[in-house]
Symmetry: C2
Subunit: 220 residues, 2 copies
DNA sequence: CCTACCGATCGGTAGG
DNA sequence: CCTACCGATCGGTAGG
């Protein structure tokens, strides 16, 4: 480093306002590193499971040293909870947007169900879809306290399905008790996480078609 | 201990035949301890997951010391594999017996499907049903080698469903591509492991009814 | 966010 | 199948 360069740095420091020091472009983004941890954790938790994933794995995947995740999260469990919460929030936002989209409420119930099913598949299997599958398959790794907390979000999510299924039941298109039907339907969709391979086989479109054909009586 | 009692013990030893010493009734049964380990492991793997379960947990649940499981199994993974294999073997035997039961082949396809569904629910949720759920939810914890080995049993199991679903598709009672239908149906059933509570709510009978009503078009 | 580290736990083994 | 133990790994922390 030349004396001039050093001088520049010192000058820059001298000109800084009080309080939290600014960082350079490369190091900026406070939330950036935290988000990198979340993404890495979601991916690893999904692939290997929570207990089999090391905080060191996660740190490495986010380009950090082994102790650094604990600067952002109090514990490994807190990281898991954050992953699940982000997953549920985005899934809820996604479905709510679909439900309140213009004209959606005027569609026949079968078409409304299709919207829910398609969005659900996308949340589970689409790009960047590691968060919700972790929520689905690792919730027992969470302390009961936080399981209850997530339970509210899950209840909200499931509540979106009930009016649609009730309407379909009333019209004779759905021929099973509504609450059991919801559990079975969501199970059929959730299980796709275990076998769906985006590289080969069916598209999400075909999957949605098959699910609709399976669950609903054709009334036309 | 009185001198007489000690004398009796010594005499008993003197009268024993050569070779492997006989054990008393309480300690007998070579395969007994192994089976106790399998049962304990299945239960713990199901409740806490494979990675979160300690071989010490399993040993304690079977009434052994921490190192003893390794007298019966080469490794923790070998224990997991044995649990899964036993689960698949019993499930296969169960379904095959149902399929070849007298008169079963003469039943209409819908009734045959009901038999498969009911037996599947019982394998997942009935008494002593920890083995297959472990197989379903922990297979990623197995080395690829053994995953492939289990894959054959799984393929055999799924093959039992195909002719029945094909017949239902032909008759118009099932309205979705057969292979996707099988994946979705088994998913709906398998997911019940996550929510079914035998203490409250529906019975396996009601569950089966709901599934049949959901999947099949009524043709009567 | 890194360096250096601790205490606990865990799968597995030797030797009986 | 038990006793006694080892080596490695892991979640987490102090101090900067």
């Amino acid at each position: 480093m030349t004396p001039d360069a050093a001088q520049t740095l010192v000058d820059a420091t001298a000109k800084r306002p009080r309080g939290r020091p600014r960082k350079t472009v490369d190091e900026r983004d406070d939330g950036n590193r935290r988000q990198a941890l979340l993404t890495a954790a979601a991916q690893l938790f999904r692939r290997k499971g929570f207990a089999a994933t090391t905080t060191r794995d996660i740190a490495a995947a986010a380009g950090m040293q082994s102790g650094s995740p604990f600067y952002h999260f109090k514990s490994k469990e807190a990281l898991l909870y954050a992953v699940m919460e982000e997953g549920m929030h985005s899934a809820l936002a996604r479905q709510r947007a679909a439900v309140v989209a213009p004209g959606q409420a005027d569609l026949p119930p079968a078409a409304q169900l299709r919207t829910l099913v398609q969005a659900h598949f996308d949340v589970l299997l689409g790009p960047g879809s590691d968060f919700v599958p972790v929520m689905l398959y690792e919730s027992r790794s969470l302390p009961q306290r936080q399981q209850k907390s997530l339970g509210k979000l899950i209840a909200d999510y499931e509540a979106l399905w009930l009016p649609v299924l009730t309407a379909l039941h009333a019209s004779g298109e759905l021929n099973a008790p509504v609450r059991l039907a919801r559990l079975l339907i969501l199970g059929a969709l959730n299980w796709s996480v275990q076998w769906f391979d985006p590289q080969k086989g069916a598209s999400l479109q075909e999957l949605t078609d098959a699910a609709m054909a399976l669950f609903l009586k054709t009334t036309d």
